[in-house]
Amino acid sequence: MRIVAKRPHSLTEEKFHYCPGCTHGIIHRLLAECIDELELREETIGICPVGCAVLAYKYFNCDMIEAAHGRAPAVATGVKRLLPENMVFTYQGDGDLASIGMGEIVHASARGENITVIFVNNTIYGMTGGQMAPTTLIGQKTSTSPYGRSVEQAGYPVKMAELLAQNEGSAYIARTAVNNPANIMRTKRSIKKAINTQQNKKGFSLVEILSTCPTNWGMSPLEALKRLENEMIPYYPLGEYKVKGD
């Protein structure tokens, strides 16, 4: 008998606080598996966001730093500049990275900071109870867009992968999803590629992962996966947006 699936070493024994069916859990596992497989746990320093993943420091079994809302890329820069041989990642939600943290992420990418960013896009502010995010889709109802997001009032959802791919400093930029087994496997491959990019000192790497928020979408976990597939992927096309050669 060989083991097909078990909890990775790079995760602690803590039970996740996430809601039932929230795909933050899947993404945590994928990242931890990559760290295991690349044997980087003892070299890794992770930066958690402010968002539902704020407690990620309890889950990842490596050195962790809790950053202020949106500032993880700056914190990661401080760490990486002093420990260039360590693996440094940030784990950020769409409010954290694309709203309040826009300045920090664009500049980390422009500087070509040699860090890896796991960007969890669930088109909403989960932790604070379902407010609109910059990534919220047109027409999507949230607690601060109760009649559906309108272009007049809130403009257009930002496409971070496309935006950051513009920067010369970005070495690897991809968008994936975790709505089914195939996409989950692809997501894992992209995360690993991103970490390799950092190991090879090529510069800034980011994987935007389309994720769910059953609770604030007001859906069952299964309905949430369907919405991700039917509404999010069409607006946020999956794929690799930047792959720097040597």
Binding site: M1, R2, V4, T23, G25, I26, S220
Partner: protein, 71 residues
């Protein structure tokens, strides 16, 4: 055909049913007769013999409830 052996860490289960939905062989279901300390009816194997050990359930599980072994 490959056979799988399943073990569940049921206290971590939140009854989201993602594993059930994606299991190709209808192996899984929630256990209506038990409520875990988190207040959920946890996952269980209704026909374990059908399990092929593909590991898809574990792949989909956000809470790492399921461990899969294969012959």
């Amino acid at each position: 055909m490959a056979k799988g052996r399943l073990s569940f860490h049921i206290e971590f289960c939140k009854a989201c049913e993602l594993c059930i939905e994606f299991c190709p062989d209808g192996v899984l279901a929630l256990d209506k007769d038990y409520i875990n300390t988190s207040g959920y009816h946890p996952i269980s194997a209704i026909n374990p013999e059908k399990c092929n050990g593909c590991g898809i359930c574990a792949l989909m599980c956000p809470d790492m409830v399921i461990e899969v072994e294969r012959e």
